[in-house]
């Protein structure tokens, strides 16, 4: 190779090496390969040479051009990478800056009601409702609680002035069982309903709140037996608590509106509050085969239809499932409590997603 070509090469490579950015790089590129670059000029002048010489010189010049082009392109990639890195680091932000998270939440009681509805919904129940203010007849008489019955005194009922129109004694319902009555009067069997709602009793201490929530349930059909009652409630409790083998105990008891009457306990550990063990029993549900008188009070023939009913305290279910200690806090609307125990509105309770 000619000495001047070697110089040209070395000068170009050296300039290329010194190029700091794409602008400098471009100057080198134009100087080495541009229209007025010496190498370009030399190539243009090839035509003036004799064919033999032209061939030999052409190969040399073209090789040099290829060599320089490759070096220049490589340098371009390097400089582009440098430029990108520089841009990236210039653009970096403090990602630790806080953003606001949507933190509106659903009350745990609403969550429990949704879960119960999802489970019983899967068993073919629909949700029924009734008023908070009801008459003595719906709350007591129709449910086979006569005027003299000790259960009336036990209930610590809140009373309201009598209805000015029909003079009926008005009260705040002490139990959601009123909805059994309203449903029986309104619908033809077969019936499967649950009725979650507010209930009221004049009692206020660490374990009693003057307002609390119950969920009533009722199944009326031909051939419904106590075995169905047991199956249905076992299915419910195990699904609700998510414990497939939750120990469940059935005890004979008494409610005026059922016969036989049954109290249901679940196994737990009194000390740790952990569910599922068998060391202690915790009463959780009242239930029974519906009393013939209650059905007949509502015009349903107890010879034709058999039914079971149950009632469960929703605060207690919620406290047990989610480890909430204090009943009174449910109604105190303390922002700290609501934030701690609340549920995301975007995760509704559903059977297909799992509870």
């Amino acid at each position: 190779m000619d000495n001047d070509l070697e110089i040209l090469k070395q000068e170009t490579l050296s300039a290329l090496d010194k190029a700091q950015d794409l602008r400098e790089w471009d100057a080198v590129r134009v100087a080495a390969l541009g229209k007025s670059a010496p190498l370009t000029q030399k190539l243009k002048e090839l035509g003036k040479l004799a064919p033999d010489e032209r061939k030999e010189r052409g190969a040399i010049l073209n090789n040099l051009r290829q060599e320089l082009t490759a070096a220049i392109e490589t340098k371009k990639l390097i400089l582009e990478e440098v430029a990108l890195q520089k841009k990236l680091s210039a653009e970096a932000v403090d990602i630790s800056l806080p953003v606001s998270i949507q933190n509106g939440l659903i009350h745990p009681l609403s969550r429990t009601i949704e879960e119960i509805t999802a489970i019983f919904g899967a068993m073919g129940f629909t949700v029924a409702e009734g008023p908070n203010i009801d008459s003595d007849w719906y709350n007591f008489s129709a449910l086979n609680i006569s005027e003299y019955h000790p259960a009336r005194a036990d209930h610590d009922t809140f009373y309201l002035p009598s209805d000015p129109l029909n003079h009926q004694q008005r009260l705040l319902r002490t139990q959601t069982s009123t909805v059994q009555i309203r449903t029986l009067l309104k619908e033809e069997p077969p019936i499967r309903i649950i009725a979650p709602g507010r209930t009221y009793r004049a009692d206020h201490d660490a374990t009693h709140s003057p307002m609390f929530h119950q969920c009533e349930g009722m199944v009326v059909d031909k051939g419904i037996t106590l075995g169905h009652l047991k199956g249905c409630l076992v299915d419910f409790l195990r699904a609700f608590f998510g414990i497939p083998h939750l120990p469940i105990r059935f005890r004979s008891s008494y409610f005026p509106f059922t016969e036989p009457s049954i109290e249901i306990d679940i196994g737990w550990n009194r000390k740790t509050g952990e569910l599922g063990g068998k060391s202690d029993w915790l009463e959780i549900l009242g239930s029974g085969m519906m009393h013939a008188r209650v059905l007949a009070n509502c015009g349903v023939d107890p010879k034709e239809w058999q039914a079971f009913a149950f009632g469960v305290g929703l605060e207690r279910l919620t406290m047990l499932k989610y480890g909430i200690a204090d009943l009174r806090a449910f109604f105190e609307s303390d922002v700290r409590w609501l934030r701690h125990y609340g549920f995301s509105p975007l995760k509704p309770a559903s059977m297909h997603e799992g509870l």
Partner: protein, 820 residues
Amino acid sequence: MKFSLSWLKDHLETEASLETICETLNKIGLEVESVEDPGKLLAPFRTARIISAIKHPNADKLRLCQVYAGKGFENVQVVCGAPNAREGLIGVFAPIGSYIPGSDITLKAGKIRGEESNGMMCSIRELKLGDEHDGIIELPNDTPIGMPYAEYINLQDPIIEIAITPNRGDALSIRNIARDLAAAGIGQLKLWKTAKVAGQFASTIQINNQYPGSCQWILGRTIRNVKNGPSPEWLQNKLRAVGLRPISVLVDITNYFTYDLGRPLHVFDVKKLTGSVLTICPGRGETFKALDGKDYKVTSQDCVFVDQSGVQSIGGIMGGENSSVDENTTEIFLECALFDSNHIALSGRQHGLISDARQRFERGIDQAFLPDAIESATQMILDLCGGEASEVVSAGSEPQWQRDATLHYKRLESFGGKSVPKDQVKTILSSLGFVIKNETPESLTVAVPSWRNDIAMPLYMAQFSGLKEDIAEKVKKSVPEIEAEADLIEEVLRIIGLDHVPEVSLPPLKAVPEAALDTQQKRQLLARRVLASRNMLETVGFSFVDHEIAARMGEVPETLRLLNPISSDMDQLRPTPLVSLLQAALKNISRGWNDVALFEVGPAFNNNKENLIAAGIRYGDMPRQLDGKAHQVTLWDVKADVLNLLNSVDVPVASLQLTSDTPIHYHPGRSGRLSLGPKNILAYFGELHPSLVKQFGFDQAPMIFEVFLDNLIEPKKGQKKKHLVLSPFQPVKRDFAFVVKSNIAVETLLKAAQQAERQLLTNVELFDIYEGDKVPEGCKSVAIQITLQPQERSLKDEEIEAISQKIIQEVCQKTGGKLR
């Protein structure tokens, strides 16, 4: 109901463990509430003799005793301050390390005034067995030394307390508890019998029953020459064990019968009665001092026993102080009566008087067990107090309690869910006291025992007044048979144990269940989710609030005020959940939370109608943004809450009417009402009225809203969505600014623009409002952007210009403004 294991064993022959007995009680419906072993607490205490007692060298009132308390405690020095501590006394010793229940301390070795003391001689109070604290316990000379004291006083007996359901009055008798247990296979019920005590003379007291409606049957007799004093130890211990205070042998015997056989009795001191007749009649307003030392004014709801001087007892509830027996009593009248349970319930309830007698009569006692009871009680009195008994006098007669119940064996399975062998059914019912009267291959008819007032009882019905007469009659006729059978099924199943009934899952009604919720119910859930997803916290407030506070926010009629509130701040059913929310917000603010966003979906009570309302309050700042700016909540935030909620529950928000007719608790100039048509109000929103801001004590105005979920209309069902044509053409946007009078509602302007062009105009958006020196006084500039969406071809400039003119013209006409 409390009873001791040993008392139970008076009636039950059993080897079963305490644990098995308790498990069985739970199973058969006699729920165990507690089991206590009082002997456990007294375990360290032992009988001991004081060998010597000399004066403490350094204290006048203390004695230095050497105590012998059996093996291991041969010569223990104890410093004792009791006045009766003396040589030779046998008492109760507590060694070092004992827990003293009466003084709640654990004994440590120590020096008292320089002398070692290695234990304690105890008083009754220190053992928590009574109030006596005058000196240390003194036991008889023949007391064995070194014996556990609990064993000595027979206190190692476990005490079981069970809950009695209202139907099981019969289980307020230890004998009947034993019967239930025997039926459940826990041992054998012992035989109980009594012999007639022949009357030696005619009763000096006669009974005149003028109130047979309340006292159906009564037997009585005089017993004279009795000696009343403390009961024998065994009786005292029995009663003490179940929490009764021994009084005197006569009183203790009546208490014994109450617990043992569920048979309350009463004894009058004949010498304290005036005249020879006890008249049973309704009360007539007399004042009467009962045995609890309190005065009661008796009414016609009470069934009282009266002599010539006045009321001597409230029958079935409590005797009187005046004619009560004491240590000087020599002649008594023993009363054994049957009272109507409803009368007793009312009578007891009106005085708030709770007694063991009331508890039993109220639930119903054994209706046949009077003659045997009075004989048995007489015998016990004669045995323990001496004397002789008169003939028995009586009034009224045994009620017709006899009734049968029939059980069809197959119903055990078709109703009770468990088939039970016939023989087992018969055994269970027989051992519970049912007498088999008739048998067929399919069924069993039994006579109900006289003490079971919960089985096959007379019909009490309260049928709905609106039932068709023929249906009401027909279904009523079905009840007695079904009910009696259910009673027997319950008996059989509770004794077998409900755990043995196989569980059967409910058969599905359909392969795919229907929705559990109706539209209205689903909307409640949606409302919650929408508000919570807008950063609000859901609360659940009490339905009742303070009526004075509630009055600030709506009507508080007397008809919605509780007759018996538990406190005055919870006496009025709230006119809106906002009452609860405002108070909740204040409480949180006072705890240091400056920014509060709460909502509740709950009932409101107005004019005897309950409405479901989604209400909310926002106070303070909205969540702070990254640029550090936090804007104070404005009414636009709650307007957005309301509109988002309504939009999510299928309300066509574009067709809502907005007016400023809001209730008194809203700021009249900063609140709005949204309705569908002029009448159907769906929501209010806005700023809390300034005077309420002050009354409640907020530092700044909270923003509030109420959405009336009951007023939402049903969405059209099964409606498919309108066919959508997506235009390939570029939309065209144009901006306009109008100068209008300040009092013109922006909505008027936006709607005018919207209505100007129906075909191509797809959106009208507000982007600026300006008031200031660049527009005339009393005017504002409202800037909007419109979007035109060409459908079939691109729009030409002239077309766009024509539409723009139409919009300008329409807006100017409707608002009286002009293009800026």
